[in-house]
Symmetry: none
Subunit: 160 residues, 2 copies
DNA sequence: TTATTAAAAAGTGGCGAAAAATGGTTGCGG
DNA sequence: CCGCAACCATTTTTCGCCACTTTTTAATAA
């Protein structure tokens, strides 16, 4: 099972919007030749990067939606719109679509620091600024969030 | 079953942010070659260190969360973000990511004293300063905390 | 019982290989 | 013809390894 880990700080190449940390590349080893799929996160101003095989799962889930249901179609569009298959260049760098960078508030020209974090089967790409805000959110009530999630999981277990 | 114990005081290597347990290594013996996973604690300014097999359980639990549920995603991010796989070097030292050390308020340069405590299946890493403050908190009401926990355990037992 | 010695573990520093950042150049497409 | 992107070469830094010093612990002998 894929278990991407680590918090990697990196810069966008000032020339083109290129990038990519090496330790993640090692963890991806056998998966990376299939390419990566980048997309906007639905909930936060960051990008999600899936190894292609993981994205295939997403795609498979989407294919189960009804073609004739407006809500399903809207959901599919919201979720998949913008997803792009990208591959590493010979230096192990990524060329990210500028529209996606813009969404994640990553500025190509100036504040080009960003953070890639491994989250098991996927990765997230944040601008340094947004990332710090998430990390340093002191008031965040993790306890009650955890409780909500726990209830969901229990309910799920009962339904099965 | 793994049962890590002890309170170990140690120093960071002044060169790089290196460090090492010692007697803990003996307790880890057969687990340590798989590596260790370090992460920020959710509630306190300290780091949590899991033997890899223990972390694998966490990762497996996380993979059951819903990709399309905002709370689940937030939970996963808060919990897993920053988790890093590290291995002991040939001298039995650990190279801890500086971003994590910073979170735990462990200063590489000056006050480089820290404390590692065994907590059964995981360990905690504290700066000496923070550790003292938490441990020596005289006003802490252990009685009512214990009572709350006891209730939780009982309720859990009834639900099963 | 204490002291001395030996062996192992702990702590320190430097060196070298490998990877990552940078800059320049060429080729392709619009 | 211009611009962007892929490729290549060079410099710089990181970090993993190795060798050396110091401390601790244990054992044996006085």
């Amino acid at each position: 099972m894929l278990n991407l880990l680590g918090e990697h700080h990196c810069k966008l190449d000032p020339k083109g919007p290129l990038l990519f940390p090496g330790k993640l590349r090692k963890q991806l080893e056998h998966h990376v030749h299939h390419g990566l799929v980048v997309n906007r996160d639905i909930f936060s101003k960051c990008l999600v990067i899936y190894p292609k095989p993981e994205w295939d799962k997403v795609n498979e889930e989407m294919s189960r939606l009804s073609r004739y249901n407006q809500k399903h179609q809207l959901f599919q569009r919201k979720f998949m719109k913008g997803a792009t298959l990208i591959e590493l260049d010979s230096n192990g760098r990524l060329l990210l679509p500028s529209a996606l960078l813009e969404y994640a508030e990553i500025d190509i020209d100036e504040n080009n620091e960003c953070v890639i974090t491994g989250l098991g089967e996927k990765m997230e790409l944040w601008s340094s600024k947004n990332h710090d805000e998430v990390i340093l959110d002191e008031d965040f009530d993790f306890g009650s969030l955890a409780e909500d999630v726990r209830k969901d999981i229990e309910r799920n277990a009962q339904n099965q």
